[in-house]
Assembly symmetry: C2
DNA sequence: CCTGATAGAATGAACATTCGTTCATTCAAC
DNA sequence: GTTGAATGAACGAATGTTCATTCTATCAGG
C-alpha cells in the first residue's frame, strides 16, 4: 500500500487550498475571463493538469469561490442579527471590514472578485448567485439601522437607501484599496459611519444656497 | 466622383459614434477582455470588418474611450476649481453625478468602464492612464473640502481621506446601479454629503460602547 | 537499512474552439 | 463607372480542456 488514505486526503486538500488562493488572486487582478488557467497554475506553482485534477472546469473553480462568498455573507448577516445595540453592531461591522481591507491577507482580493462578479456578471449567473446572500445581508443591516433610528442612535432617512449607500462606500473603498495599494488613505470607521450617525446638518449650513 | 467628401466624413463620424457607443455598452457589461469584437459588431449592427475600418485594433477602440474619460474628468476638476462656495460646489457636483446615474443614457455604463479599468488594469496601462486625471479631480475636490472646513461649512477630518471616501461611495453606487438597475434606491445628494457635512455626532451617541 | 512494487498525484504536449485581425470582394451613392 | 464604405471567410495565436505519461511517497520482504 503506497500512501495512506489520510495522507492522500491531506495532500489533496492542501493543494486545493493552494489552487483556490492562487485563483482568487488572479481573478481579482485580471477578472474571470482574462484569468487563464495557465496563469493560475503558474501563480499556484503547479502544472495545468494539476488544476484539472482538483477542479473539473474553470467555472467549478469559480464556483467554490462563490460558495465561500455566500457563506461569508451569511455569517456577516447572522452577526448583525445577533445581540448588541444598533450603534455597536454597525460600528463593529465597519471596523472589522476596514481592518480586513487594511490587512494584507486576501480579504481585499476576495471582496474584489465579489465586486467584479456583481458588475460584469461573468461567468453568467454569478450576479444572481451573489445577489441572494447580499440581499440577506442588506436586509439585516437595514433592520439594524431601523432599530438604531428608533433608539435615537442613528440619523433619520430611509433605512434601505442608507444601507445601499453604506455598502456602496465599502465596495468602492475595496476597489480603490486594491488598485492603489497602500497609497490610499483608508478612512476611519467613524468617517464611513457619518452617513448613518450624522445629526442632520443645521439649516444655517445650507442657507442661501437653495437657489438652483 | 461618387460621394462628396463632406458626405463621406459625415458617414464616417456617424459610424464611429455608433461603434463607440456599442463598444462602451459591451465593455461595461462584459469587461474589456470578455468583450469580443464580434459582440461589439453585433451590438452596433455592423460587421466585424467595419469595426476595423474605423479602429485599427480593439485597444485603439478602448483608447478613444480613455481619451473621453480623461477629458470628462478634467472638465469636472475644472468646474470644482471654478467659482462658488465650497458647500455649493460639492452639492452641485454630487447632484449632477447622481442625476447622470439615475438617467438612462450611457453615463452609468461610462463610469462602470472607468471603474473596471481601475480595478483590473485591463488592458495593461489603463490604470495608470486613468490615475492621472483622477488625481487631479481628487486634489481639486480635496481643496474644496479644505476651503469648506475653513469656512465652517464642512465637517472636520483629513480632506484627502474624506475625498477618497466620497468618491468610493460614488463608484460603488455606480456599480450597484448598473448591476441592479432600477431596483436600487439611489440616495439623495444630502445623504451622500453627510460624510462631508455631518456635524460630529455628540459624545452621548457613542457613550457606553467604547469598551472593546 | 535497503529495494522494488504500487496507488495516486503531478505533468505538459496535443486538441477543438474562440479570439483579434486581415483582405479580397461586394455594395451603395453619385 | 468610380470611389470609398461594408462585408465575412480565413489565419495565426491563445484559450479551456484532455489524457498518456512520469514522479513520489509509502511499505512489504529481504
Amino acid at each position: 500500500m503506497p500512501r495512506t488514505t489520510a495522507q492522500n486526503e491531506a495532500l489533496r486538500t492542501a493543494t486545493r487550498e493552494t489552487v483556490q488562493t492562487a485563483a482568487i488572486r488572479v481573478f481579482a487582478r485580471d477578472g474571470f475571463t482574462a484569468a487563464s488557467i495557465r496563469t493560475i497554475a503558474a501563480e499556484a506553482g503547479l502544472s495545468v493538469g494539476s488544476i484539472y485534477r482538483h477542479y473539473a472546469t474553470k467555472h467549478e473553480l469559480f464556483d467554490e469561490f462563490l460558495v465561500q462568498a455566500t457563506t461569508g455573507l451569511a455569517a456577516a448577516a447572522a452577526r448583525l442579527e445577533g445581540p448588541g445595540s444598533p450603534i455597536d453592531l454597525v460600528r463593529e461591522f465597519t471596523t472589522a471590514y476596514l481592518a480586513d481591507l487594511a490587512a494584507d491577507d486576501g480579504a481585499a482580493e476576495f471582496s474584489e472578485v465579489v465586486s467584479q462578479g456583481f458588475s460584469t456578471d461573468t461567468p453568467a449567473g454569478t450576479r444572481a448567485r451573489l445577489l441572494a446572500p447580499h440581499r440577506t445581508l442588506w436586509q439585516a443591516f437595514s433592520a439594524v439601522v431601523r432599530r438604531g433610528q428608533e433608539a435615537g442612535q442613528l440619523a433619520d432617512g430611509d433605512p434601505d437607501t442608507m444601507t445601499v449607500c453604506y455598502f456602496a462606500t465599502l465596495s468602492g473603498l475595496t476597489t480603490l484599496r486594491l488598485a492603489l495599494g497602500h497609497d490610499v488613505n483608508l478612512p476611519s470607521a467613524e468617517l464611513v459611519l457619518r452617513m448613518l450617525t450624522a445629526a442632520t446638518p443645521t439649516a444655517t449650513l445650507t442657507a442661501g444656497s437653495d437657489d438652483d
